[in-house]
Amino acid sequence: MNEELFLPGHRACAGCGETIAVRQILSVAGENTIAVVPTGCLEVVSTSYPETAWKIPLIHVAFENAAAVASGIDCALKALGKRKGINVLAFAGDGGTFDIGLQALSGMLERGHNVKYICLDNEAYMNTGIQRSSATPYAASTTTSPLGKYSIGESRKKKPIGAICIAHDIPYVATATIAYHLDLKKKIKKALEIDGPCFMHILVPCPTGWRFPSELTIELSRLAVETGVFPLWECEGSDMSNLKITKKVAHRKPVKEYLQLQGRFAHVMRNEKLLAEIQKEVDEKCAKYGL
């Protein structure tokens, strides 16, 4: 095991999936890495002045521009003749990626910068208190898509960020989650070996926002895969037909097993019609992926 580059003492909630993912990723990337972190939980919990949890150089600029800042770093390293051997990683939340950061991400991917962009998807704006994002799953209750007399929680389906990135014709797009850490690390290693933009979509359960006991983080990230909610795949090249499932699930578990552990879906457990609807949606997605 490499030296720890994300140090203890940070202020994340117990069981935070984001920080586990960062440790897993840095153990592969190593110390010759520059991190760009936009505004969000990760930055707030790990860079509180005068302390820092990062043993590698890190820059935080704003909420929506990690990809643009990373573009500048990529070019500066080139201009200074230092590009070789240094990884430029952007670690952004789903808000900073799917929503406000999408334009900068698209620009960076299109320009072809040698940046590995990692979206740590906890399916809402957690730093500001669990508001919905376009990554929030259907029916999840958040503080801006609350369950109510006329509301089932989030009314829209998750934005297909992976497909959007693949459509940019970049060399590598992949999903991963922390329970399958070997799969995650293998994919990071692959991305780092590529000279060009790569996009990693990593599911990171958030005990606070999803409302589950903090010891269940890994369990939930495993169930997301075993139920088919979050298939693990990778895609080299520009089209979805190159997409390869990296974790085949022999016996897909019912989605209920994943949902029932999370407070944000408590109402779904009391609503069979809604549960069936969600199950149907997952089944359709899995059929599409050949799971």
């Binding site: 520059i34 509180s48 002045y49 500048g72 620009g107 320009r111």
Partner: protein, 391 residues
């Protein structure tokens, strides 16, 4: 060497002479020719730099911040809506103490949309911690761009700087400019050697989360750097004169030695104001013109000195802080407020959205200032050159 260049190209030429290493940019009228020229230099191998055509001004400045933090000499340019889109990042660049240089083709802000000259865009960013210079000619654009790098990168400063270029009047108008030799600029401006960079060999966290226990001290230190910059500017002006022969001052004064009425201006309207002053002087009137080349840090000391004989300071603003008065007027008032001998400070708004600025406008201003002095009656601000029939 003499060259004929428009303002945007003078800035681009200066950036090339300063050997910028990363130029992220996004086109907007009237600054568009700047990224075009830079891309041409790069395409022809005349400039060895990374040119990033970003997908927005917001990303252009974000990339500048990343590049500068990684240790590269960096510049961009913009105007109006583009500068407004950068607003959030302007504070981040100065807070991180990154010496990014940015020529701003001064243009009015929407709405209504208008591509012509006024100073509302950059003046609205006066509190963002960027040094601000205002140019009057393409020679000044070239010279101030070179000096801006040297000032901004000084270890006592480490602040970003913007240069005001009046839309079209400078950006698109060609003039003869004396361009220094590369070897001279190399001697004047050493390579950028930042104290701290994003270096894996010496990891640092840039842009930390900062609680109330620490935040104020960061701002205080940045403010102190702003104040220290005043001396650095004098030093750099002197070095520039010694090397290139051209002399600059923070406050240019014309006929101010015994002037009772002083018109205070920024940018290209200064030349027109001086012509009005010449005309009035020929009639025996004791008028003068003072123009600010440096607006941030505000040159209070120099202005008080230049205005020592003035009974009236007529501050002419090409911007308006809606609901009050011109922004420069506010600064001038603050700078005199505790001074024992203060002139009457008046405020005139003119030339917004590219409205012509004429000699007769300044004659009118002097007339109005004289009347205010006699009657002690005046309005703040007074709008000049309005089409009354439209109001």
């Amino acid at each position: 060497m003499k060259v004929v260049v428009e303002g945007n190209h003078a800035a681009a030429l200066a950036a090339k002479l300063c050997k910028v290493q990363v130029v992220p940019a996004y086109p907007i009228t009237p600054s568009t020719h700047f990224p075009e020229k830079i891309s041409e230099y790069v395409a022809n191998g005349e400039l060895k730099a990374e040119f990033i055509l970003a997908e927005s001004e917001h990303s252009a400045l974000s990339a500048c911040i990343g590049a500068s933090a990684a240790g590269a000499r960096t510049c961009t340019c913009t105007s109006s809506q583009g500068l407004a889109l950068m607003h959030e990042l302007l504070f981040i660049a100065s807070g991180m103490r990154l010496p990014i240089i940015m020529p701003v083709g001064n243009r009015a802000l929407s709405s209504p949309i208008n591509i012509w000259c006024d100073h509302q865009d950059s003046i609205s960013e006066r509190d963002s911690g960027w040094l601000q210079f205002y140019c009057e000619s393409n020679q000044e654009v070239l010279d101030f761009t070179i000096m801006a790098f040297k000032i901004a990168e000084d270890a006592n400063v480490l602040l970003p700087a913007m240069l005001g270029l009046d839309a079209f009047v400078l950006t698109h108008t060609s003039e003869v400019v004396e361009a220094p030799e590369q070897s001279e600029v190399d001697k004047f401006l050493p390579p950028y050697k930042p104290l701290f960079t994003l270096d894996p060999k010496s990891p640092k966290t840039f842009g930390s989360f900062c609680t109330p226990e620490y935040y104020m001290e960061f701002k205080k230190k940045t403010d102190e750097a702003m104040h220290r910059t005043s001396e650095v500017i004098d030093k750099v002006f002197a070095e520039f004169k010694a090397m290139f022969g051209r002399e600059y001052k923070k406050v240019k004064s014309y006929c101010c030695e015994d002037a009772e009425i002083i018109i205070l201006t920024l940018g290209t309207m200064s030349g027109t104001a001086r012509m009005a002053v010449s005309k009035l002087r020929a009639k025996g009137e004791k008028v003068g013109c003072a123009s600010l080349t440096v607006y941030r840090p505000f040159p209070s000391k120099e202005l008080i000195e230049v205005a020592r004989t003035a009974k009236v300071l007529a501050v002419v603003d090409r911007n308006i802080s809606l609901g009050f008065a011109g922004a420069v007027f506010e600064d001038v008032c603050s700078c005199f407020v505790n001074h024992s001998k203060k002139p009457l400070v008046l405020n005139y708004i003119l030339g917004l959205g590219g409205r012509d600025v004429l000699i007769k406008d300044f004659e009118l201003i002097v007339e109005s200032a004289k009347k205010a002095l006699e009657t002690n009656k005046f309005k703040i601000p007074e709008w000049i050159g309005l089409r009354e029939e439209l109001i």
